[in-house]
């Protein structure tokens, strides 16, 4: 049986898609695209799909991953196109490789996030970032199923920097961009936990909710703080001409946010 790993996005307004919503949409896209899926056994057979580490509802993403198992082999490039056409714009399938290596989940060690802070000046953001990074630990709270929970948001953060927003933004209003690299630990530290941390350490309080996008997930190079394409090992292990990418892979270039 052939297995294929896919990278997909949640762009624009479809970033409000929850993970459950995406699962239903994806399984319907599999039917529309007539993908010969392998099914689980039992009373109500399900197509074999495994999802990894979904981004929270409301955050955009350029780098979500899943793996499907097929009953008949297909060309990954063609499959990517078909599935992409079958999904609504914004949920885009951007990469597909045939599986040649084990332990994919272990390769998703860290994420690169972009946080757009409308109404926040770069200097103010830089100051807050410096205070946050200087701290040993930054205790934050998050509401979970089991009530309010406290944990450290600093330890997982490998890199955090404030940048000027690109000039093509409409209007002259202040806007800072935070670039965040965070390790996948337990409990998971999310971008909004880091924002809570910035508020706790430096009183940074954006006037409107931050627009958050995951730019990449993958293996973390601790020294440089860069994250590399988790599909690269499969691509490298593949015989020629069995892989494809819609654009440059995450390792070469990190996309500039939602379309």
């Amino acid at each position: 049986m052939q297995r294929i790993r896919l990278r997909y996005t949640k762009r624009g307004r479809l970033r409000f898609t929850s993970h459950r919503d995406f699962q239903r949409a994806f399984e319907r896209a599999l039917r529309r695209a007539e993908v010969p899926m392998a099914y689980s056994a039992g009373f109500t057979p399900h197509p074999k799909v495994s999802y990894a580490n979904a981004a929270p509802t409301g955050t955009g993403s350029e780098a979500e991953y899943l793996e499907i198992q097929l009953a008949e082999a297909r060309d990954p490039a063609r499959l990517r196109e078909l599935l992409d056409e079958s999904l609504p714009d914004g949920l885009d399938i951007v990469d597909a490789v045939e599986v040649h290596t084990p332990s994919f989940a272990d390769r998703l060690q860290a994420s690169v996030w972009e946080l757009r802070l409308d109404g926040v000046g770069v200097e103010e953001a830089e100051k807050a970032v410096a205070a946050f990074m200087a701290a040993e630990t930054v205790e934050v709270q998050r509401r979970t199923k089991n009530g309010l929970r406290s944990f450290d948001a600093r330890g997982a953060v490998c890199r955090l920097e404030a940048l000027e927003a690109p000039a093509d933004r409409p209007g002259d209003a202040a806007c800072a961009i935070l670039r965040l690299v965070v390790r996948h630990l337990t409990p998971a530290v999310r971008p909004d936990d880091v924002l809570s941390g910035l508020r706790a350490t430096a009183d940074l309080a954006p006037p409107v909710p931050a627009a958050v996008t995951r730019l990449a997930q993958g293996l973390l190079d601790e020294e440089s703080g860069t994250v590399t394409d988790p599909l690269a090992p499969d691509r490298d292990a593949a015989p020629a001409a069995s892989t494809t990418a819609a654009g440059p892979s995450a390792a070469q270039q990190v996309p500039e946010g939602p379309a």
């Binding site: 307004r13 409000f16 919503d21 896209a29 039917r31 529309r32 409301g58 409107v208």
Partner: protein, 644 residues
């Protein structure tokens, strides 16, 4: 209209979405949704199903009209749904108007704001939407730049309670009607909107197929009853006719059903296999107002399913109608579809099945790809006598025979639907529901040789509806309904041998009284609805939002000064002479025939189905110039050729 008023409100809405539950329901972008260029269209419809997105999106009526209108050149239709209170509060705070989900344009910018009312319980949500849209609540306060507010759907067969708030209402099938209305508006706009709002409404009214309440005066008798309803403009007809689409195969909609990202109440490819029902159940408004029966052909159904599944990727096909097993070729349809889609693991469902039309061959086809979990039937009345009164001619023997075959073929659970509060009903009639459940379980245990047999009894309160033989009937009060159901509950719980195998589900009688007030209300009831809305009433179809006390409080504030009260509308029996609020809306049913059928009900006399016996002169076919359209065609569904 100023150009800026049609800009998308999305940037402003987007900032609110991180703070609300299930934001995905407000963003649009569903598969098969359509966004047409605003400036290239001259007639623009905002279509609303006045309930939450999860209920409204799968609504077939809205989906059909959305597609029919968008297929037409120069016409666009977008959808809007009720926003939940969390978003409503934020929209008010940040001044974001009611928007369409397709391109987030403000509803006020459209030419027509069309609302589909499946139930009267959506009325308060209409007020919320109008208010959020910035459209005056009262029709008389609207200007030429406000949309024409148009009501449709089954509840529109008595639009009088909302007569002051809608500009017009259309009764019957909408497919052709929306196109006719579009042409009238297009012509009026092209001429430079002569005569303003009044003129376009007059043009619509004069077609005889659009009801414009402002062109009718209602006069009352001193005792509160209606004296008469009179047109106040020349050329406006005394009665407004319902619309009937005759050839369903010519209207294979929806062709491209919407596939939402958010979770909704029905996630399946629905095909309406026929419209109308002449079984003649006397409580059933849908069956009375959608006559005659018009079948879609087996081949037409096959094509719709094929295209629809391709367009959606749904895993289930729902064969919809008022009584799906009554299609003349249902056996071939079910078998043909089950054969075609066995490999693809597509499930088939038949949401409404009569006990006497059910057979195990059919059921086997329906469950080929799924589990035999439960079967649902609706005897509606617990006693043979009651079933004669309501003309639901299903005998207990039929039911036992059917469940016996079902249990013998592997089913373990049967669900039975009943009503409480039917005309002439006594405690004894309702208590017999318990006996029926016991007999079903006893038969199941006997046939299957097992004890894990379950029967769930589900009971709703009966609400008399306009355009039915029971339109004259007194509604049972909430207190009496509750008392009767309590007796049944005690009887079932007290049964040592079978009680634990019987599930008992029922609703208290209170929501039914509000539904009854709105169903058979007249223009005076409008003040109650408005007061309820202003007191915070929303989402009345939802248990957690519905407030009986609020409705009663507002009724007490507004009705007595008009000489009536809630009982007058609900528990009062009407007489033959009384002018009913909806008499000027012509469903085709002859009022004298309805009255005879009401008398037959009281005499416990049954009436057959005119599909298989001679005509009973209900009046619809000659009045509406329509006829029964049924098969069999003799055609079969051939296997689909496999092209991969």
């Amino acid at each position: 209209m100023p150009v800026e008023s049609v800009e998308s409100v999305f940037p402003r809405l987007e900032a609110l979405l991180p703070h609300v539950q299930k934001p995905i329901q407000y963003v649009g972008g569903e598969l098969n949704s359509t966004v047409k260029p605003w400036d290239e269209c001259d007639v623009r419809w905002a279509l609303m199903y006045p309930d939450a997105y999860e209920v409204g999106l799968p609504n077939q009526g809205v989906m059909i009209l959305y597609e029919v209108l968008n297929e037409r050149e120069g016409v666009l239709a977008e959808r809007t749904y009720s926003v939940w209170p969390d978003l409503e509060a934020l929209m008010r705070e940040h001044d974001v108007p009611q928007f369409t989900v397709d391109s987030h344009r403000p509803v006020k910018a459209f030419d027509v704001f069309g609302l589909s009312f499946s139930t009267e319980l959506g009325y308060t949500n209409m007020f919320a939407a109008l208010d959020l849209a910035g459209i005056p609540l009262e029709a008389k306060d609207r200007t030429i730049d406000d949309p024409i507010v148009l009501a449709g759907g089954h509840a529109a067969f008595n639009p009088e309670p909302i007569a002051d708030f809608v500009d017009c209402a259309v009764i019957g099938d909408g497919e052709q009607a929306v196109l006719e209305i579009t042409e009238i508006i297009r012509a009026w706009k092209a001429e430079g909107r002569p005569g303003g709002r009044d003129e376009v409404l007059l043009r619509l009214a004069r077609t005889g197929g659009v009801y414009v309440p402002r062109f009718y005066d209602v006069e009352y008798l001193p005792d509160g009853r209606i004296a008469r309803v009179v047109p106040n403009r020349s050329g406006v007809p005394w009665r407004v006719s319902k619309h009937t689409v005759m050839d369903l195969d010519e209207w294979p909609y929806p062709k491209q059903p919407l596939v939402p990202l958010a979770e909704t109440v029905h996630e399946r490819m629905s095909v309406e296999i026929f419209r109308g029902c002449t079984r003649g159940c006397r409580f059933c408004q849908a069956g009375m107002i959608t006559r005659p029966v018009r079948e879609r052909s087996i081949t037409g159904i096959g094509e719709m399913v094929e295209k629809g599944l391709k367009a959606t990727g749904f895993e289930e096909v729902g064969l919809l109608s008022l009584s799906s097993a009554d299609h003349t070729e249902i056996g071939d349809i079910a078998k043909g579809l089950a054969d075609r889609y066995e490999e693809d693991k597509i499930g088939l469902s038949l949401p409404s099945t009569r006990v006497d039309a059910f057979n195990v061959d059919l059921a086997n086809e329906l469950t080929r790809n799924g589990r035999r979990s439960g079967l649902t039937f609706a005897p509606e009345g617990g006693s043979e006598r009651m079933r004669k009164v309501i003309n639901k001619m299903v005998s207990e023997e039929d039911l036992i025979r059917t469940v016996s075959t079902a249990y013998g073929n592997g089913w373990r659970q049967v669900k039975l639907y009943f009503m409480c509060g039917l005309p002439t009903e006594t405690d004894e009639d309702v208590l017999q529901i318990g006996d029926m459940a016991v007999n079903v379980i006893a038969e199941g245990r006997k046939v299957s040789g097992q004890n894990d047999i379950r029967c769930t009894v589900s009971i709703g309160g009966f609400v008399p509806k306009p355009h039915t033989p029971f339109q004259w009937a007194p509604q049972l009060s909430a207190e009496e309904t509750d008392a009767r159901l309590a007796k049944l509950r005690d009887k079932i719980r007290g049964d040592k041998k079978y009680g634990r195998s019987i599930g008992f589900r029922y609703h208290d009688g209170k929501p039914g009284i509000v539904e009854g007030l709105l169903s058979r209300g007249d223009r005076r009831v409008g003040a109650v609805i408005r007061a309820v809305y202003e007191d915070g009433g929303r989402f009345d179809g939802w248990r957690e939002h519905f407030s009986y006390d609020r409705w009663m409080k507002c009724a007490e504030q507004t009705l007595p000064e008009q000489g009536v009260d809630v009982d007058w509308y609900t528990t009062r029996e009407r007489t033959y002479e009384e002018v009913l609020p909806w008499d000027h809306l012509d469903s085709g049913l002859d009022k004298d025939w309805l009255w005879e059928d009401w008398q037959d009900a009281l005499d416990e006399t049954e009436v057959d189905d005119c599909r298989w016996t001679p005509c009973f002169d209900c009046g619809v076919c000659p009045q509406m110039d329509t006829s029964i359209q049924i098969g069999p065609t003799g055609k079969k569904l051939l296997p689909l050729s496999v092209i991969k």
